[in-house]
């Protein structure tokens, strides 16, 4: 459970600090990051680099699907799944 909390806060902090065009926009755990245009290709690649650096997670090609990255909640679920694998 501790791992979940840590991941959520750390990932949320990263997303909020690195999302594009967030003026007057409140990001929460379920905000759809791609739907809202908050992450472009560079942002997405940087997010993957952050996950690798922070959690030593290597994203495989077949994991690069919207379900794994569409929101903070989705990213946390993905990270926890990778960490427990």
């Amino acid at each position: 459970m501790k791992q979940n909390t840590t991941s959520t806060e750390r990932i949320k902090e990263y997303v909020i600090n690195n999302a594009a065009g967030t003026n007057n926009f409140q990001i929460d755990e379920s905000t759809l990051l791609f739907e809202e245009g908050l992450f472009d290709s560079m942002g997405f690649m940087a997010l993957i680099a952050f996950l690798q650096e922070e959690y030593n997670i290597q994203a495989n090609d077949d994991e690069l699907v919207v379900e794994n990255f569409e929101s903070i909640n989705a990213i946390v679920t993905y990270v926890n799944k990778k960490l427990s694998a």
Partner: protein, 327 residues
């Protein structure tokens, strides 16, 4: 004003001759009067865009006032020069061949690119492997930004692919962009030596979706096909008599050593489909109307609309002139 009903033929040119004449007249006015130049330089690659641009330039200035420049380098496909020569022969223009490989070596283009590729695939050796960059996401069925993969192919055709980390992706693209920027420099050398204008070759999609290199192929004095959809470029190609082999050739980037289509590197859709969805997007057509005409689902069109929005936004900097309002 209410949009006309969306159909598969909505962007088909109604009067090709009139469209061509309008472009030709404007090209003459821009080059002779605005730019005060007496002819045109066109970099010809054997692709459809540069071929149509050249054909329009010949109509505008006459074949004696247009020079085609071939700019091969060591990763170029031999087909490019062969087709460019066929085009030049067809339109009766003078050509100059400028091999830019030594200039690229001087810039460290190949070395910088290969270093980044070797960090992804340590076994990659440019002498024995071919390489390219590809996008794997399915734009119709997923709304997410592009992630790029490096693909290497050995002598026996065995292929390996790996997602590109950001730093390696940026270095490969930055190094490869020396190609387009070196070509631009050479085109301007010839243009200035002849007091001609550089006639740019990007089409509407390349300009608006940002599929060009700033101060590379985006560096030109005029862009006569810059407002034409790719399918309209093909219509004009047939009308102006561009050789059929050029019309039949799959659009490629001709930038990486492995064969790479524009679709796999950037657009993620066949151009016929992309043209129509782009038209629907820029004219605010309902996704349901576009989906019905194209036999797709509304959410698929919605995904592509989102991709277009993202590309327009993220490539805005490419279209910006230097910002100088600092007073």
């Amino acid at each position: 004003m209410k949009n006309k009903p969306f159909t598969k033929n909505i962007i088909k040119l109604e009067d090709i001759e009139k469209t061509c004449n309008n472009i030709i007249e404007k090209l003459k006015d821009d080059v002779y009067n605005k730019l005060q130049r007496k002819g045109g330089i066109v970099g010809i690659s054997g692709g459809i865009d540069s071929s149509v641009t050249l054909a329009l330039a010949v109509k505008a200035f006459g074949k004696e006032n247009v020079t085609g420049i071939l700019l091969p380098e060591k990763d170029s496909s031999p087909d490019s020069a062969m087709l460019a020569n066929k085009l030049a022969e067809k339109f009766g223009i003078k050509t100059i061949v400028e091999n830019i490989s030594d200039a690229l070596d001087g810039f460290g283009c190949y070395r910088r690119r290969d270093e980044a590729m070797q960090r992804v695939f340590p076994e990659y050796d440019p002498k024995t492997y071919k390489s390219k960059i590809a996008i794997k996401q399915d734009v119709l069925n997923q709304n997410m930004p592009s992630i790029f993969s490096l693909v290497i192919i050995d002598k026996n055709g065995n292929q390996k692919s790996k997602m590109l980390p950001m730093n390696e992706y940026l270095q490969i693209v930055a190094a490869s962009n020396f190609k387009q920027r070196s070509r631009m420099s050479m085109l301007y050398y010839h243009a200035e030596a002849l007091h001609y204008a550089v006639i740019g070759t990007p089409n509407k999609h390349e300009v608006e979706q940002g599929f060009f290199v700033k101060y590379g192929d985006g560096g030109a004095d005029v862009m006569p096909i810059g407002d034409l959809y790719k399918s309209q470029v093909y219509e004009i190609a047939a009308y102006l008599g561009v050789p059929q082999e050029i019309i039949d050739r799959t659009p490629t980037t001709d930038t990486y050593s492995a064969e790479q289509t524009q679709e796999e590197f950037f657009y993620q859709l066949p151009f016929e489909l992309m043209d129509l969805i782009w038209y629907g997007w820029e004219n605010d057509y309902d996704t349901g109307d576009v989906a019905y005409a194209l036999n797709l689902k509304p959410n698929q069109i919605e995904h592509v609309y989102k991709t277009f929005e993202r590309k327009m936004k993220t490539t805005e900097y490419l279209r910006l002139a230097p910002i100088r309002d600092y007073k």
